[in-house]
């Protein structure tokens, strides 16, 4: 059973009296534990699509189902709860909270969204810190670590609630090549370890090659789908 099903999904933006179609009726399916990339030039609609999958926005038309939930029917409060339970996020500019330490940045989704007991939180956060290789830096603040390390923390934060899906928006855009590959490797490793679906957008052709399924978007339309190694056929 698919984790994500998009059926003729459209998204229009209103700019004054002009309606701009960011997505022009796209359809696809993504299976659980996939490692998927959406590629395309600027303005192709990949970010819009990630926002829709992440329940940060609603489609104008069509049907988008994520983890058996029709995202169009969720109100603001339900969307927040849905994101807290099912989706993790990784951003190109990391979006770590500057006032929290590395440990606390990973811990707070558990604390507020899941209300997990302290002992369990500590265990889970330390396990993830270990997994992303940041245990030594756990008491540092975001401004005391490098960009690559920040993104490692962001990966750990995205995974801490054990979501079904992690959305990564240009996760390597602010990193040098070596670090970018390390982050993608880490994401793959996490996928293998936690069976979490990773979807990331990128315009870096070398990074795109690391994805197992690549969807190419152009001008709001899905142009191509490539699967590597026969891992996914969705």
């Amino acid at each position: 059973m698919s984790l994500i099903t998009a059926e003729n999904v459209r998204k229009d933006y209103q700019a004054g009296e002009v309606s701009i179609a960011a997505l022009k009726g796209i359809s696809f399916e993504i299976e659980p534990a996939s490692f998927v990339s959406f590629v395309g030039p600027s303005g192709s609609g990949k970010t819009t699509l990630l926002n829709l999958i992440g329940c940060l926005d609603r489609p104008t038309g069509g049907k988008l189902t994520v983890a058996d939930t029709d995202t169009a029917v969720l109100d603001r409060k339900q969307s927040a709860a849905f994101r807290g339970t099912n989706i993790g996020f990784i951003f190109q500019d990391f979006n770590l909270l500057p006032v929290l330490t590395v440990f606390e940045n990973i811990e707070y989704p558990l604390l507020m969204v899941r209300n997990t007991p302290a002992e369990e939180r500590k265990k889970r956060v330390n396990a993830l810190l270990q997994a992303v290789g940041m245990i030594e830096q756990k008491d540092k603040y975001p401004d005391q670590i490098s960009g690559g390390q920040k993104q490692r923390v962001a990966v750990a934060r995205a995974l801490v609630t054990n979501p079904k899906l992690v959305l990564a928006d240009e996760p390597t855009a602010n990193l040098d090549h070596t670090t970018a590959y390390m982050v993608i490797d880490l994401m793959k490793k996490m996928r293998d370890e936690f069976r979490t679906t990773f979807i990331f957008s990128t315009h870096d052709q070398k990074i795109v090659g690391e994805a197992e399924i690549i969807y190419s978007l152009e001008d709001g339309e899905l142009k191509d789908r490539q699967a590597k190694g026969g891992k996914n056929n969705g």
Partner: protein, 415 residues
Amino acid sequence: MMKSYFTSFVRNNKIKVALLLLSLSLYFSLIAVSVMLDRSIPDIAAVPLKSIGVQTIVQKTGKIPEKMVGLIFPHSNAPISEGERVALTGLPFVEGHDSGLYFWAFDKKAFAAVLGVDHGSRIVADILKNNMLQGGFDLSGIGVLVTADFAKKNDLSSGSTLDILGKEYVVRGILKPNMSGNIIPADVYMNILEASTSARRSTEMHKLYALGDGRISNVVLLRTDPAWTGDKEKAIKAINKELLVFSERTFTKEIQDQLKLISASGRIMFLVLGTALLVAFCLLIMFNLKTREKEISVLRMLGWKLADLKRQFIGETLVLLAVSLVAGNLLALAGLGFLRTRTISMELPWDISAKPHFLPQENSIERIITAQIPIHIDWLSLVQLSAAFLGIFLAINYALFFRLRNIKPQEMQGR
């Protein structure tokens, strides 16, 4: 509420948080001190009259002797009739009373303030008995008591004779100085019947008033029931509107003027300061939300609901306010402790002062009463004040959270 998030915020905004705590606690402590002072005014105002053990002195507006018309203003030396005296002492709040005849005697040698008192009274006579320096308490016949200052000035001792308005009196005892705390203080004390006879010998008194026979009094001292809640002054004035009432109310305004915090200008200052603080608080909340906008949008994206955010920010405000209130209460207690060590000066009205107003030099000394400020800490008021303070600032905080709705969850911003 996520405590670690809050403590991290405080750690990273030490100066901003410290300034907020300081201004809130200082403002609270100023309000608390002024409320306590305000509550203490009746006690402070009762201090001058406490020295003679009464709460109210009643006198009556008098007329000006012919020779002095144009030189002085009316004085409260008019006789209070026996009917008025009986009516006064029969008022429902009166628990004890005394009366006297107070006059000034001038001759070529000296000026004397004389008070005629009832030999067996339980108020003035008791004060005199308790303040004997030399000789004994004896106001029978032509016996008088004089204060130590007056005796020194006029070279008098027990057994000496003293001429008052053409009659010779015998000094039976010397009294301590300033024993009534400058309230109706006299140089010479004599029997009220003898004082009435002396007053009748004055041609001027006859010209001004119909004196009649028997005892004359122009000062009535009333010991009143503190629990009586009615308007005592109004009840007294109902007997005769020319009666003058000196009570704790007389001193209240003067005390308020001296205790600037609770004066009219003090209230305005509080209003201005309070408004400035509220505006600053509102701006700070707005600024706080603005500077944390990115954080909030990330938190919302990660699944925090508006209710979670409100709980977090209200929790933070609650902690900051609680710390401010604890500090403010401690500061207030320290301030009140300091005030307890201070004294307040109160100027007595001319009418109950020792010397006539045309002897300004002596009056300027004797009309001032200093007293330690009797501050009582009203714990219930402090609790109520703290709750009100907390309520107001929390309500403002809550009202400003409409802005949270405008901060949308962080969206992907890919290129």
